[in-house]
Structures are given as C-alpha cells and as structure tokens.
C-alpha cells in the first residue's frame, strides 16, 4: 500500500512519460514489485500507459484524489453573465469544466440552481453536463446512468445519440431529467485559440418552457457565450 502510493507520487514528481525502470530506480524498489504495482494502478485507472506502452502518466481517475481547484471568474466575465441576467427572466448560471468536471462558478442568486455535487457526479442529467459528455463521448461515467425522474435518459444508446446531437448543434437541453418541473438550456464557451471547451453557460427555467424552440433566447445565449470566450480561456 505504501509502495503503491510511492509509485503514484513518483509518477506525479517525474511527470508523464516516466518508465517502469526509472520508477524502480528512483524508489529503490525491486523491479518485479514495481511492475506489479504499476499494473495494479493501471488496472484501477489511477495511472495510464502512454501509447508507446513504456511510459506512464496520471489517469483521469486520479483526479478524484483531489478537489479540482477552479479559479473564480474574472470581474469582466461576471459582468457579461450579469448582463444576460438583466435581459432574460430565466436563471443564468456559469460552470467551469476545469478538471473534466462540471463546477458552478457563478450561480444565479435570484434563481435556484441544481445542487453542485449532483451536477458534478451525474453529468448525464444536466444540460451543462451533457455539453461536457458530448465533448468526450468515450469517457466512462463514474456515477453510472442513475435515474432521477421518468424523463432521465438512462439508456446508454439513447444518451449516445443525444450527445451526438449536442455535439453537432452545440446546444444542450434538459427537460425534467433531474427535477420533474425544471429544465435547462446550455451552450459551450470555447477557447478562441484551440477551440477546446472551457466553460458552459446555462439558462434554467420551467421544463415546459425549456422544451420550446426558444430560437431568440438561444441566439442571445450564444452571443453571451462568445463574449465570455476571451475572458475565460
């Protein structure tokens, strides 16, 4: 156990690409022990092997060992969100995707938002989570496809089809999948330099209103997301 943690710490210290032999030498552990521990940590997905199969790096699951540190958005970014709040009668929430997780960084003080730990753990039931899942469709879901309401999409094939729609349109929608009466719409905020997904901007409201096309509302949401891009990336 102590050795396994030492191996994990050594991969963090040496950086991605460190090989089994290098770890064994650095820790003065017997080779066979090192290989066994590395295979164990890879099997549990705390470590991954790089494509050359020699080097190791931290796996996505190791992120669960630490609370993701998400810096609060800048004043300029908050001003854009506040501007949108002034124009619509819906709840406006901003979430960061740092660490591959949904973290609310600017919750609307006047409207209820979903509980942050539910958003982080069950991304399949929120519009903000669906945006993140659509970006990394092959990533396994830690919490499984838990059902919250009769509208929750818990069939993997249906969710996959829905995520492809989200990826194609850039708009995620959720009607009553977490709470029967509530729903939300969300669009992504992408880095202007490399196009990577950094944050999501969501509108929350009654489920039946979310289900409408809301063309003008979505345009307004997209405009504000575009204005947020240089401020958040």
């Amino acid at each position: 156990m102590r050795n396994a943690l030492a191996v994990l710490a050594e991969v963090v210290a040496a950086g991605p690409g460190v090989t089994a032999k290098e770890i064994s030498t650095a820790l003065r552990l017997p080779r066979a022990t090192t290989y066994r521990l590395l295979n164990l940590l890879v099997a549990e997905e705390y470590l991954v092997r790089l494509p050359d199969l020699r080097g190791f790096a931290l796996g996505a699951r190791a992120g669960r060992l630490a609370v993701p540190i998400v810096p609060p958005p800048s004043t300029a970014a908050r001003a854009v969100v506040a501007h949108l709040r002034g124009r619509v009668r819906w709840g406006v929430h901003l979430a960061s995707y740092a660490g591959g997780q949904v973290t609310l960084v600017d919750r609307d003080p006047d409207h209820p938002s979903s509980q942050p730990h539910l958003l982080a753990r069950h991304p399949h039931v929120s519009a903000l989570g669906k945006l993140l899942l659509a970006e990394t469709p092959d990533r396994p879901l830690e919490g499984g496809l838990r059902r919250f309401t009769e509208h929750t999409v818990s069939d993997p094939a249906r969710l996959a089809a829905q995520l492809r729609e989200v990826a194609d349109s850039g708009l995620a929608r959720q009607c009553g999948e977490l709470h029967t009466e509530r729903g939300c719409l969300a669009v992504g905020v992408r880095s202007p330099t490399d196009g990577s997904l950094v944050a999501g901007l969501a509108l929350s409201g009654p489920a039946h209103r979310v289900a409408e096309p809301n063309t003008e509302l979505v345009d307004l949401l997209r405009t504000h997301a575009d204005r947020l891009a240089p401020l958040l990336a």
């Binding site: 991605p16 890879v42 080097g55 990394t136 509208h151 089809a161 096309p213």
Partner: protein, 504 residues
C-alpha cells in the same frame, strides 16, 4: 526529449478504436464471453472419451496437465492484456511483440479458428436441436440447414444490436448450459455411488507416454478460451477483467472437464476397455443407471453451449475483422462501427453469411452435421494453436521492448512454446490430409501475398498493424479538453432521432 513533448507527440485526441461501445461491459459478461468461446459443456460430453483412447487409465492426469498448459498460455496472454486493451485479440497482441509478419500469421490462424469454430457451433447447435425435437439428423437435413440459417440470423441480430445485449445473451445461455451439464454429471456420479474411486487417481499400468499422448486431445477442450481478449475496448476495467477472465476460464474449463472425465472413467471402470471403447459414453452410462431422461438434458446442455459459442466466436471474429479494417490490412469498410449500436456491423454482416453458408452447403452435399463437425473443429483447433504459439513467443519479447522483462515470463514461455510446438507437429502429423491442409494451403499464400503487397505499396498499413485502444487525451488527468475530431471510418448517418427536449 522532455516529458511534455513525450506526451504531446504520442497521445491522440481519440482512440483509433473509437466507435465501439467503449468501457461498458462488466466482469461477468467478459468472463462469459471467454467461457462460451471454450464451450466447456460440449468438451465435457466428448473430450474424456477421446482422451481415454490415448491415455487409458491416466485420463485424469492428461486433463490435469492440459489444464496447467492452458493456464500457462493464459499467463502469456495476460502479460499483454494487463498492459494494452485490444479488439483484435491475439493478433493485435502478437504484433506488439513480434511485429507485423508474425502478427498476420497469428491473425490468419485466428480468422480460420474463429470462422470454423463459428461454423461448427452453428452446425452443432442445429444438430442438437433436431435431436431434441425428435428428428433423426439423417432424415432431416433440410431442417438442420434451415436451423443453421435461422440461428445465424439470430446471432447477427443480437451481435449487431449491441455488445451489451449479445454479452447478456451469452452469459444467460452459457450459465444454463453449465448448470445442465453439472446436473447430468452430478446425477451420474451420485447414482454410481459417491465414494472416491482411487484407481482413477493413481493409474497403474500406463506409462508416461500414454499420459502425454492424452494431453493433445485434452487441450482441445480449452480451444477458444481467449475470446475475452477481443473485448479490450468494451470491457469496463479491461486491464483487470480480461486477464482474470482468460485465466479463470482455463481453470473453470479444466475443473469441469476433470469432473466429467472422472465421472465417466469411474462409471466405465468395471467395463472391459473402459471409457476408451465408448462412442457415446454419457448415453451408455445413463442407460446402465436407468436414467432415460438424462440424454435429453445432455443434448440441451450441449445445444446451449454451441449456441453461446456461436455468439462468442462471432463477437470475437467481428472485432478481429474490425481491427484489420481500421489498420487497412483488410478493406476499410470492415472497420466501420454502427453509430447508434456501436458495434462493428459491417464486419458482422460480412462474416455471418459465410459462417452460415459453409454448413448449409456441406449439409446440402449430403454430409451429415455430425460428420461435418469433425474436420471443422480440428481445423479450427489448428488455427488457434498457431495463434497461441505465436502469442506465447511474443510475450517476453514484448516485455523486453517496453523494458519490463521478468524471469517468470521467460520461464513460462520457455516451457509452453516447445510444448505447443510438439502439440502442433503431433497434430499436423496425426490429422489425415484433409480440410486442415486445404485451408492452410489456401490461407498461407493469401496472407503472404497481401503482406508483400502492403510492404511494397502501403508501408503505413504494415506499420499500423497492432492498433489497439490507446490512451487518448480523455483518459489523462488534465484540464485541456481537445477539439472534437470525427472518428476515422465512422460514417455520417442521417439523424434518426428527434432532437432532445422536443420528444414530449
């Protein structure tokens, strides 16, 4: 080269195996895949008598040694599957140790093995079902041929519809099959009297040679036990579940066949010639013990075993073709995945008609299903043995390449490779010049020509051999999420589902 460029150079935004239902199968489903590939129920009914023909009173010992050898092969496969998640089974694994040429040979062995085992299991299932519904197979070739086509259609439907569905079917059917076989042999053992027959455990009057001669047919019971190695992309924790599934299948098959062998050998202990002289040992024992309903259970157990085996081998065969399609070794269409079902539907649609057509043609030519089974199964075993030999040879080379060579891995290979070579030579020399020779003569020049052509015209395809589900950026810990790339080979399909949110 510093670490950050090391990682940036090699990690792609998306796995080359994208399109399959990634990381979605539980450990039991993966295990069932391997068990069904080995089809222990059929082995329990047939193998002990064949082993006894060579080993006589030492049948148990031959089966025990074969189990040990199968565990060694499982260990060699495990050295790969603990480190890489492949869909191409032993073909992709061999590539990482021995390179493109030997990998193609292993791939050809597996193609032959999976295809012929698939044909054999469809034929066997059809034959057992005609026996169950009371038709004599000789008088009802039409029924058997129609059954082969119907079963192939069912297998195609459930393997295309989704890997979770086909894995669930395999798990259910195989569990039923093993339960039936345990009941059959349990009843036989109890009716014979529970006391341990020590004559079966301490053989007298049989030499070491007889034991060794019995190992060859006993190994036949394990053929197909590596089927889980094709589920690398789809298993939820592949590095843990796949090595365990393959090892546990070798152990389980060994225990089941030992149990069946002991029951049958003890049952015939008083008969001159013993188990070796029996054509249908379980039927004879059931008749002797006045249990007329037992053969029906046996038929049902073997039929379900063949059925599960046909789904498992089709699943493995399709993923092998899929990998070869993605690499460009076979036409790229085979490397397509269905957008909604996330299965290699083109590979399945190409493979299953062939798997069904060969038995149908054989039956329509007047070959009885029971007679067709023998050359199909022996030729399949030959293909598997070639692949097992190459993957065992590749294991220490692979470990050396990645700088993780250990003494046990070299020791295991240096034991198992000579044994498998002897088995292979014995196999080729005892088998009559037949289907096996024909298939080998057809397949070897084909893959040789394909290899040389690729080396001359498309060296990048030779370099691609051994594609597996590598670590992609999504698996790494780190904030930057990559822009989305369309997976290679996945087809744009028309939007079939209404946009979410407008469904109500």
């Amino acid at each position: 080269m510093n670490y950050s460029t090391r990682i940036a150079d090699q990690v792609r935004g998306q796995s080359p195996m994208a399109g399959l239902d990634r990381r979605n199968l539980g450990p039991m489903q993966v295990f069932a895949q391997s068990v069904s590939g080995a089809a222990p129920a059929a082995a329990m009914a047939v193998v002990p008598a064949i082993v006894a023909a060579s080993a006589g009173a030492a049948t148990i010992w031959s089966v025990l040694i074969a189990t040990g050898l199968a565990l060694l092969v499982a260990g060699c496969i495990g050295r790969f599957t603990r480190r890489m998640a492949a869909a191409g089974s032993l073909y992709s694994l061999t590539a990482k140790g021995l390179g493109a040429g030997p990998a193609l040979l292993a791939g050809a062995g597996l193609l032959v093995g999976y295809s012929l085992l698939g044909m054999a299991s469809l034929t066997g299932a059809a034959m057992q079902i005609t026996a169950l519904i009371g038709l004599a197979p000789a008088t009802s070739p039409v029924v058997a041929a129609v059954l082969v086509v119907v079963l192939a259609g069912l297998v195609a439907a459930c393997t295309i519809r989704g890997v979770r569905l086909s894995a669930a079917v395999v798990l259910l059917v195989e569990a039923l099959s093993i339960t039936l076989m345990l009941v059959v042999f349990g009843v036989l053992l109890v009716s014979q009297g529970i006391g341990v027959d020590s004559r079966q455990l301490v053989p007298s009057g049989t030499g070491v040679g007889a034991v060794v001669a019995g190992v060859l047919p006993a190994l036949g019971a394990f053929i197909g036990f590596e089927a889980a190695a094709a589920m690398g992309v789809e298993a939820r924790r592949p590095f843990r579940t796949i090595p365990r599934a393959v090892g546990a299948t070798a152990a389980l098959t060994g225990v089941l066949v030992l149990f069946a062998a002991y029951t049958q050998a003890a049952g015939f202990a008083g008969v001159p010639g013993g188990l070796a002289g029996q054509q249908q040992p379980v039927r004879a024992l059931a008749a002797a013990e006045h249990l007329p309903w037992l053969p029906t259970l046996l038929d049902a157990g073997v039929a379900t075993s063949f059925l599960a085996c046909s789904v498992a081998t089709t699943t493995a065969l399709a993923r092998l073709l899929f990998s070869m399609g993605r690499e460009g070794v076979l036409p790229a269409r085979l490397g397509r995945a269905h957008r909604r079902f996330r299965t290699p539907h083109v590979a399945i649609a190409v493979a299953l008609p062939v798997l069904a057509a060969v038995p149908v043609v054989l039956i329509s030519l007047g070959v009885s299903p029971a007679r067709a089974l023998v050359p199909l199964l022996t030729t399949a075993a030959l293909g598997y043995l070639v692949a097992y030999l190459l993957v065992c040879l590749a294991a220490p080379v692979f470990l050396h390449r990645i700088g993780e060579l250990t003494v046990p891995s070299v020791a295991a290979t240096s034991v198992i490779v000579p044994v498998l070579l002897v088995v292979l030579v014995a196999f080729v020399s005892t088998a009559p010049v037949s289907v096996a020779a024909l298939v080998t003569g057809a397949v070897l020049p084909l893959i040789g020509a394909r290899y040389l052509w690729m080396r001359a015209r498309h060296p990048e395809r030779v370099a691609a051999i051994g594609l597996y589900d590598e670590t992609s950026t999504a698996d790494l810990l780190g904030p930057p999420l990559p822009p989305r790339h369309p997976p290679p080979g996945s087809e744009p399909s028309p939007r079939s589902e209404p946009p979410p949110g407008r469904e109500r």
